[in-house]
Structure formats: structure tokens, C-alpha cells
């Protein structure tokens, strides 16, 4: 599937991909970082997160990572998730879509006030 087929992304999904752009994370770390980056706007609960991950895994936006970051090696049962190339293309396309939206709104506002 092309990256455009996934647009527009739901806010939750957007933040999950955004968090994963910064590196591999396990589930709880995704929840925590998403809340932090969105300044509390996205507060995913575990069930919601894993349903989202399940869909993203099915769609090929994220994959389970085989590697374990050394720093977190204390718990080998945790699963880590990594963003795929398709996932990166999707979030990039979404960012561009939002930028275009924002720009058209800005210029409309400029001409409205001018």
C-alpha cells in the first residue's frame, strides 16, 4: 500500500510513530513518551496502545525489533517496536499534509485580515 492510503493519521497513531522515530521502544515507554511529547494530549492506555500496535504491525508500519538495547537489558521478556521504512514514509506524508493545511489556513487568515 502507498503511504497516502494511511492518511490522515489519527492523533494517537501519529504520536506512536513520532515516538518510534526517536528509536526503539517497548510498550510502556511508547505510552509515556507519547504523553510527554503531546504534553498530555495523547494519553494512551495499554489496551488502546496494543490494539493500535496490532493494526500497525498488520499494516507494516512498525515491526517487532529483534535487537535489545543494552541499557534496558534487565528485562528480556519485553518486546521492542521499531518503525519501518513504510512507517517513516507515512509519518513524513502526514507531516507534509498538515504543513500544507496549516499554510493554506495561514494564508487564508492573512488575506481575511488584510
Amino acid at each position: 500500500m502507498a503511504a497516502d492510503d494511511f492518511l490522515p493519521l489519527k492523533t494517537d497513531a501519529f504520536y506512536v510513530l513520532l515516538v518510534l522515530l526517536h528509536g526503539e521502544r517497548h510498550g510502556y515507554a511508547i505510552m509515556r513518551d507519547a504523553a510527554e511529547r503531546s504534553e498530555g494530549a495523547v494519553e494512551l492506555q495499554a489496551g488502546a496502545l496494543y490494539r493500535l500496535l496490532r493494526r500497525m504491525l498488520d499494516d507494516g508500519l512498525v515491526v517487532e525489533s529483534q535487537r535489545r538495547p543494552a541499557a534496558d537489558a534487565d528485562d528480556e521478556r519485553r518486546r521492542y517496536y521499531r518503525i519501518t521504512a513504510l512507517g517513516k514514509r507515512v509519518i513524513a506524508a502526514e507531516a507534509e499534509r498538515m504543513a500544507a493545511l496549516a499554510e493554506s489556513a495561514r494564508s487564508a487568515l492573512r488575506s481575511a485580515t488584510a
Binding site: Q45, A46, G47, A48, Y50, R51, L53, D75, R77, R79
Partner: protein, 915 residues
């Protein structure tokens, strides 16, 4: 080897792990370990942040239930839409579903009358109850007010920062001021409830009566855009003090007093001793400010003497086209600071400013509906649950029917009728049943709505006259019926694809464990029914406990044997305080002398009625900071014998000395709560207080027990009792609006009629009204709680019954399926008690799962009841436990009969029959 890094499995985690089974299996297998890890992390974070355990669990459970439902749904959806024959099914069914099919379905249903009647009745009860409550919600909350452009009508009020009170309405000053200066409105009007004595006519002296009336601004009907049926409405200028006296009749009063005489306009009616010209009659449907208002008279504004500070009026206005509630509020707040330039408030400006008066603008509909909307939504929620339970029950019956016809369907499938035929058959039967159930349900709801309109007044329901079964209600009933039809037939439809012809045919021949899959679907339905029933029963259990607490609240007075009657002394006949006081004193001696009356007294506020009397009170030894206003307290005006008549204990001191207008006393009696507030641990006797901000000091001479003045579920309030004859400067002040209370030894009705005669003998033109026993007053105070409780109790009794029927059906059917197995067990030496235990354990198991799920749901849902509960927590553990026990007990009872039947099986017969 043990994994020592694993934290010990604690109770909470075990519960969470168990609840993960709500997720579909595939999802659970993939993620349960992860979910538990996340749960641990969240729990650690919660304890670090100090999140309270209930909040933590509420978030976890909400996530779990919503996500599990969503995942299950999407799994099912993917499974069904994944294959392409489903696509063709979705398009083929509407084509196959013709009127012809429905006729055949109806004929088929008629061949099994008991099934059909049972199903239609169950659906009709569910749809009828839901529709009836919806029509109330529709009439009271949803439907716009019956005036043109009703969304532009708003109620105007004010908020204040004053201890003891948070909001005030309009004063004559503020109404006149807003009419003059506010720009956001087409018109600003106002009104005030007044009672009115309608005089006897010349030809019939017995027809003096007391009615509800409203004093209104001349433009109020224009604000509402409500035209009269006869004559005209008020003209501008008629609401001034020297205008010619006029009145407008309600259609009820017009019929009663004037026999619907169309020439009534121009005639006169005597209201409170003043003869007024009748200028118009309002239509029957007009019921503002309330549906008991029978007469409208103009307010007699006196602009040069109007006060900004006595808030005795309600404000209502029509927004200018395009204006909004917020803009209107800003507009009022813009002009409000200048009000004292035009109208004095009677208090110093700095003090006026210290209370921070701010305008409020509320949609008129919200102002009228008030807090009943919450109650109505809760009732609608409960009956909707009932409808779902009813549907689950019917769906169950449907499955049994499908079972019985399994062979027929399999043969049809084998002959090539295919899935479409089976779906159409199921669906058409469901549609016919739901249609019949819906029709009958609408009939039920029409009866129900009649009952609500008759009894709804006791619930304090506004807009009663507007409740009816209209197009919206019918649309609602139709939607409910369609949803029922879909719900009822959805399981057979979902299963239709799975009919494995060969298997069914083989099993039908052998009669072994047919329909194990269907049996599971039925078990799920039963679990859902039990869970929903638990929610309803728990809710009514909570209300029952709350009601029980409420009925133990002591009102603070002894209502037994006391009757009340009201009358109002018009200023026209009794112009001065002295004249009123003399009449009251004569009346008291007359009533006290009546046979059967032990004692009698007067009060301006009969507790637990709508009376209200409050004012700011300044306490001498608690000096106020400059420009501050004293706290607001209740100030009933009473006769000295009041405490004795009402059985309110005198804790210290004495009552007032005298009610002689020649020697008005400056004495007050305070309630215990008032004494404790200002002089905790000390005697209040001899202290001094004064009402308002200046004027005379009153000495506290007695302390009495606390009384619930406003409501039983509110704390007993501080009160200061003044004598009904009090000194105001050099004048004597006596209110014209007092209620008579008398303690009698005879029956209440006899005492009331004696009082009526005594009043008439002193003043034949003075009607008494609102004659009631105080026992009625007390029971009316809890009427709303009682009616709500009854409604929910009936709903939950029906839910319990349907749940029991559901469990019975499943267990009875499972016994019939397992005849062969049970027969073998008995033949091998199982005792009857073993067999009974086997079967009832199955029923109890289902019920237990239902109870567990139900408790989780109830914990979330009962929070909505908070405003209706008195002194009971919405998560009261005792209620939840008792509810669970009741449900398990019912489940046990329902599975007992099939269990007994199973244990009485003759093994030879059973084996031969199924061989």
C-alpha cells in the same frame, strides 16, 4: 528454575490477568504478556504519583472494556468481510426480503403461537417502557419551548459572592434598568409568582377562592411572542403603579368562573380586593411561568421608588437576532455597574460592590427544566437496559427455534437454498415480531404517558402539558423496533455461514451434542442478561438504601396530628401591620377554642414546603469588616406557641413574650445550629442580632432544636425565628402571608374543616387554601425519591424475571441436549444429588460470570446516580454484595427445575430415546 526477578504476583495483577480474557483469543495470545508488563509499569507510576487506587482502576477498567469490545468487533468484522461471499450476501439479502417473505414469516410464526406471543409480549414491554420514558424526555428536555424562535428566549439572573447564597434573580430596579439599557435583547421582561384571592361574585358568596397567579411586566407576552385567544395582552405602561387595574385570564379560569363566555373581555374580576378589568384570555396550551398559573396581572412598578437590591422577580428576555448567550451576558455586565446611578439599593455603594453582582444568561428551556433532566436521562438509561435484556431474551428464544429447525435449514442448504435464504428467513421473522412488539409497545407507552402526566406533578416535572406521543416518539419506537429485530436475528445470521450441512444432518440423526456452538452463543446472551440485570438491581438497591436513610431523617418537628391551612390578608382590607396582627390574634383565640383543637399557631414558613424567608443577619459580638454583609440565614416569622404546636423542643430559654401589636417585642429565638455557629459551647441567651444592615437589635431569648426547613436531604439549617409581630422603626410589621398550623385530637380532615369555618366566620371573603396534614407535607418531601425508587424497582424486577427465564431456558435446553450423557452417568451409579449438582453448577457458573462483569459495569454506571443518593456511596459495597447474592440466588432457583428434571431421568428411557 524460578525466575527471581519476577515480582510476586499480587491480587490486583491476578484480577487484571483474568480480565484479559475479555480480549479475543488471537489478540490475547499476541499481547497478554506485554499488557501485564504495561500494567505493572502503570501501577508503579500511579503509586509514585500518588494516584488513588479507585482512579487508577477506573482508567484500567475503562480501557480494558472499551478496547476489548472494539477488538472483538473488528475481529468479527474482518472474519466476515474477509470472504467474498459475504459481500454478495449483503447485497442479496435486501433483494430477497420482499413483502411476500414477511407474509410467509407471519404465517410461520402463527403456527407456533406460544413462542410468538411470548416474544411479542417481551418486546412490547421493553419497547413500551423505553418509548414512554423517551416521550417524557422528548416533551420535557428535547422539544423546544412552545414559542416562536424559542432558542432566542433566555432567563436572566445574577451570581453574587455572599455567604449562604450564590445567586439572586432580578429586582424591580434591575428589570427597569435592563429594559432601558441592555442592547443584546429585543425585549426584557420579568415576572413573580403571586397567589391571588379571587373574590366571591355577587350572586354566589361561596366562590371566593385562592389561585396561582403571576405578576408580570406588560411586555412578557411579547417577549414570549404568545398571543391571546381573546382580547389583547398588556399594553406598555400598564405595569406602572397608577395604571388602570387590568388582568388576563387563563383558559381554565375562564371556563370555570365565566363558563367560557366569549364576551368576558371588558368584564371585571376582583383580585385581592381590587376590581380589575379583564382584557384578554390566554390559550389552553399557554403555561408560563407554570402550568398552575391561572391569572396574570401587571407588576405595579414605581420607577422613582424602585430598588436595585430587592431581588424578587425572575427575568426572561428575547435575544436580538444573531446575538448569543455570551454576548448578552457581556452586554449586561457592561451596563450593570451603572445601576446605582439610577436606582438606589438601600445599602452603601461599597457594600453593594463587595458582593460582586454579575449577570447570568441561561437558555430559558434549561432554566425551566432545571435538575429534572438528570433524573430523566437516568430513567431512560434504565429502561434502555431493560430493552436490551428483553432483546437478549428474545434472541435466546430465537436460537432455540433455530435449533429446532436445524434439520430443515440444513436440508434447505443442501438443496441449494444457500445462506441468503436462511438469513432472509431469520430476518423476516424478526422483523414481523419486532413490528408487532413495537405496535403493542406504542400502545403501552400511550397508557404510560397518561400515567406520567397524571402523576408527574409529584415528581416535580415541569412542562407536563407538553408531554405526548408525537412523531419523534413514534420514530423513536420504530428505531427501537428495527434495532430489536437486528439484534434478535444477528446471531442466527452470523451463524448462518457456518452451517455445515453434513454435520447437522449426521447429528440430527444421532441427536448427540447438536449445536454446541449455538449453546455457547446462548450462554453469552445469558451472561449479558445477568450482568445488565445486576446493574439495574444494584441501582435500585442503592436508591432503596438511600430512601431508607432518608426516611430515618428526623424532620425536627412532630408532624403527627398537625394540619395546616394558608390564607393571605390582602393589603386592601388589612392595610397596616396592626390591623393584620389584630386579625391574627382574634383568629388564634377562635381556633384555639375549637373543640378538637389542642393548640394552634402561625408561621411564615411551613417546613418542607416551598415557603422561603431569608435575610442577612448581623451578630453583635461578631463584628463585620467594613462594608461586609452578614451571612444569610432563614428567618421564619412565627407565633409564640409555634414551637409547642410543632413539637420543636425548647432547649434553653423561652419563646417570645407577646404578639400584642401595641407592645411589639424585640426578641428572637434561634435554632441550635445557629447558636453552635456563633457561640459554640456557650449559651446564646442574651446575645443580640439584627436583620439587614441597620435597624433595631433583637435579643436572643430562646434556643430550639434544628428543623429541616428546605428538604430532608439537606442539613438542618441555621434559623432565626422572629415574632410575627415585630417592630420596624416606629411601625409594627406583620406579614400578610402566614400559614395556620393546628394540633388537633380529631381526624385531620375534621380539624381542617373547622379551621376553614373559623376563618370564614371572621372574614367571609378570605379563602383558605393548601389545607394539608403535615404528615402529607413530610411524605411529599420524599415523594420524588420514592417514585424514582419505584420506577427503578419495577424495571429491575422485570430484568430479574427475564434473567431468570434466560437461565432457565439455557439450562433446560442443555439438559435436553445432554440426556444421553446424563442417562449414562445415572446408569453408572451417579446419585440424583450428583446430577442436580452437575446441572445447577452450570447455571450458577454462567450467573457468576455475569455477576462479575455486572459488578464492573455497575461500578462505572452507578456514579451517575450520585445526585439522587442520600448518605449512600454510589459504590456502596453492602448493596453490591447483596445484589450479587440476590442474582446468584435467582440463578440457582432458575436452574433448580432443570436440575431436578435431569436427576429424575430414567436412564433406560434416555438411552433408548437417543439411541
Amino acid at each position: 528454575m524460578a525466575d527471581f526477578r519476577l515480582p510476586p504476583l499480587n491480587g490486583g495483577e491476578r484480577v487484571y490477568r483474568a480480565l484479559l480474557h475479555l480480549y479475543p483469543r488471537r489478540f490475547r495470545r499476541a499481547f497478554s504478556q506485554e499488557l501485564v508488563e504495561a500494567f505493572r509499569d502503570q501501577r508503579r507510576a500511579a503509586s509514585r504519583d500518588g494516584t488513588p487506587a479507585p482512579a487508577f482502576w477506573a482508567a484500567i477498567l475503562r480501557d480494558l472494556t472499551t478496547q476489548a469490545c472494539a477488538e472483538r468487533f473488528s475481529t468479527a468484522w474482518r472474519r466476515r468481510t474477509g470472504s467474498d461471499d459475504e459481500e454478495s450476501l449483503m447485497t442479496a439479502v435486501p433483494f430477497a426480503l420482499r413483502l411476500q417473505e414477511l407474509r410467509i414469516a407471519a404465517r410461520r410464526l402463527l403456527r407456533t403461537p406460544s413462542f410468538t406471543i411470548a416474544t411479542v409480549l417481551v418486546l412490547a414491554v421493553g419497547i413500551g417502557a423505553t418509548t414512554a420514558v423517551f416521550s417524557v424526555v422528548n416533551g420535557v428536555i428535547l422539544r423546544p419551548l412552545p414559542y416562536p424562535d424559542a432558542d432566542r428566549l433566555v432567563a436572566l439572573g445574577h451570581t453574587v459572592q455572599l455567604s449562604g447564597v450564590g445567586s439572586v434573580d432580578q429586582s424591580d430596579g434591575s428589570l427597569l434598568f435592563y429594559q432601558q439599557h441592555a442592547r443584546a435583547f429585543d425585549a426584557v421582561g420579568g415576572w413573580r409568582d403571586v397567589g391571588a384571592n379571587i373574590a366571591a361574585t355577587a350572586d354566589d358568596a361561596s366562590r371566593a377562592e385562592r389561585i396561582d397567579a403571576a405578576a408580570i411586566t406588560a411586555n412578557l407576552f411579547d417577549v414570549l411572542e404568545a398571543p391571546p385567544t381573546l382580547g389583547r395582552t398588556f399594553r406598555s405602561g400598564e405595569d406602572r403603579i397608577n395604571a388602570a387595574p387590568v388582568a388576563i385570564l387563563s383558559s381554565a379560569l375562564w371556563e370555570r368562573r365565566f363558563h367560557s363566555d366569549r364576551a368576558v373581555v371588558g368584564k371585571r374580576i376582583v383580585v385581592d380586593g381590587v376590581s380589575r378589568e379583564i382584557v384578554g384570555v390566554m390559550p389552553r396550551a399557554f403555561s408560563y411561568p407554570s402550568n398552575t398559573t391561572e391569572l396574570w396581572i401587571p407588576i405595579a412598578f414605581d420607577p422613582p421608588h424602585a430598588s436595585a437590591g430587592s431581588f424578587n422577580f425572575h427575568g426572561v428576555a428575547r435575544l436580538r437576532t444573531g446575538s448569543t448567550v455570551d454576548a448578552a451576558r457581556a452586554d449586561l455586565d457592561r451596563v450593570l455597574p451603572h445601576i446605582l446611578d439610577e436606582f438606589p439599593s438601600g445599602i452603601p455603594r461599597a457594600m453593594w460592590e463587595s458582593v460582586h453582582l454579575r449577570a447570568t444568561v441561561t437558555p430559558l428551556r434549561d432554566a425551566i427544566v432545571g435538575d429534572t433532566s438528570r433524573l430523566l436521562w437516568i430513567l431512560l438509561g434504565s429502561v434502555s437496559l431493560l430493552l436490551v435484556i428483553a432483546c437478549a431474551n428474545v434472541a435466546n428464544l430465537f436460537l432455540v427455534r433455530g435449533e429446532a429447525r436445524g434439520l430443515e435449514l440444513a436440508v434447505r442448504a443442501a438443496l441449494g437454498s444457500g445462506t441468503v435464504g436462511i438469513v432472509v428467513q431469520s430476518l423476516s421473522e424478526a422483523i414481523v415480531l419486532a413490528f408487532a412488539g413495537g405496535m403493542l409497545g406504542v400502545l403501552f407507552s400511550i397508557v404510560g404517558v397518561r400515567a406520567v402526566v397524571t402523576f408527574g406533578g409529584r415528581l416535580g416535572l415541569p412542562r407536563l402539558a407538553e408531554i405526548s406521543v408525537d412523531a419523534y416518539v413514534l420514530a423513536f419506537a420504530a428505531t427501537a423496533s428495527v434495532l430489536c429485530a437486528l439484534f434478535v436475528s444477528i446471531i442466527p445470521i452470523l451463524r448462518a455461514r457456518r452451517v455445515q450441512v453434513a454435520l447437522v444432518l449426521r447429528e440430527a440423526g444421532r441427536g448427540a451434542t447438536t449445536g454446541a456452538v449455538r449453546q455457547r452463543a446462548r450462554a453469552v446472551l445469558v451472561v449479558a442478561q445477568v450482568a445488565l440485570a445486576l446493574v439495574l438491581v444494584a441501582a435500585s438497591g442503592l436508591l432503596a438504601r438511600s430512601f431508607e436513610r432518608l426516611s430515618h431523617v428526623k424532620p425536627g418537628f412532630d408532624a403527627r396530628g398537625v394540619v395546616m391551612a394558608r390564607f393571605v390578608l390582602p393589603d386592601a382590607t388589612y392595610p397596616t401591620g396592626t390591623a393584620k396582627a389584630q386579625f391574627y390574634n382574634r383568629l388564634m383565640s377562635a381556633v384555639r377554642a375549637l373543640p378538637g383543637v389542642e393548640d394552634a399557631s402561625l408561621t411564615s414558613w411551613v417546613p418542607l414546603t416551598n415557603d422561603h424567608d431569608d435575610t442577612t443577619i448581623e451578630v453583635e459580638d461578631h463584628p463585620l469588616p467594613p462594608n461586609a454583609v452578614g451571612r444569610i440565614h432563614f428567618v421564619p416569622a412565627v407565633d409564640a406557641r409555634y414551637f409547642h404546636v410543632m413539637g420543636i423542643p425548647m432547649l434553653a430559654g423561652r419563646a417570645f413574650e407577646s404578639s400584642d401589636p401595641k407592645h411589639p417585642v424585640a426578641e428572637v429565638v434561634v435554632s441550635k445550629a445557629f447558636a453552635d455557629r456563633y457561640w459554640p459551647g456557650k449559651s446564646p441567651l442574651g446575645k443580640r442580632i439584627r436583620p439587614g444592615i441597620d435597624g433595631q437589635w433583637f435579643t436572643v431569648v430562646g434556643e430550639v432544636g434544628d428543623v429541616h426547613h428546605e428538604a430532608l436531604d439537606k442539613a438542618a439549617e441555621d434559623a432565626v425565628y422572629f415574632s410575627f409581630v415585630s417592630k420596624r422603626g416606629s411601625d409594627v410589621y406583620t406579614p400578610g402571608y402566614l400559614a395556620l398550623v393546628a394540633r388537633g385530637s380529631a381526624a385531620d380532615a375534621t380539624t381542617a374543616s373547622e379551621i376553614r369555618k373559623a376563618v370564614r366566620s371572621l372574614d367571609p371573603g378570605l379563602p383558605t387554601f393548601d389545607e394539608r396534614s403535615l404528615m402529607d407535607v413530610v411524605s411529599a418531601a420524599s415523594a420524588r425519591a420514592r417514585i424514582t425508587l419505584w420506577l427503578l424497582a419495577v424495571a429491575s424486577a422485570v430484568a430479574l424475571l427475564l434473567g431468570a427465564v434466560g437461565i432457565y431456558g439455557v439450562m433446560a435446553y442443555s439438559v435436553s441436549l445432554r440426556q444421553r450423557e446424563i442417562g449414562v452417568r445415572i446408569a453408572l451409579g451417579a446419585r440424583p444429588s450428583d446430577v442436580r449438582r452437575l446441572v445447577s453448577r452450570g447455571g450458577l457458573g454462567l450467573a457468576a460470570i455475569g455477576v462479575a462483569i455486572g459488578i464492573v459495569c455497575a461500578l462505572g454506571v452507578t456514579r451517575l446516580l450520585r445526585g439522587l443518593l442520600y448518605d449512600v456511596s454510589p459504590t456502596d459495597p453492602l448493596t453490591l454484595v447483596a445484589t450479587s447474592v440476590v442474582l446468584l440466588f435467582v440463578a440457582f432457583g432458575a436452574s433448580w427445575i432443570p436440575a431436578r428434571r435431569a436427576s429424575a431421568l430414567d436412564p433406560v428411557e434416555a438411552l433408548r430415546a437417543s439411541a
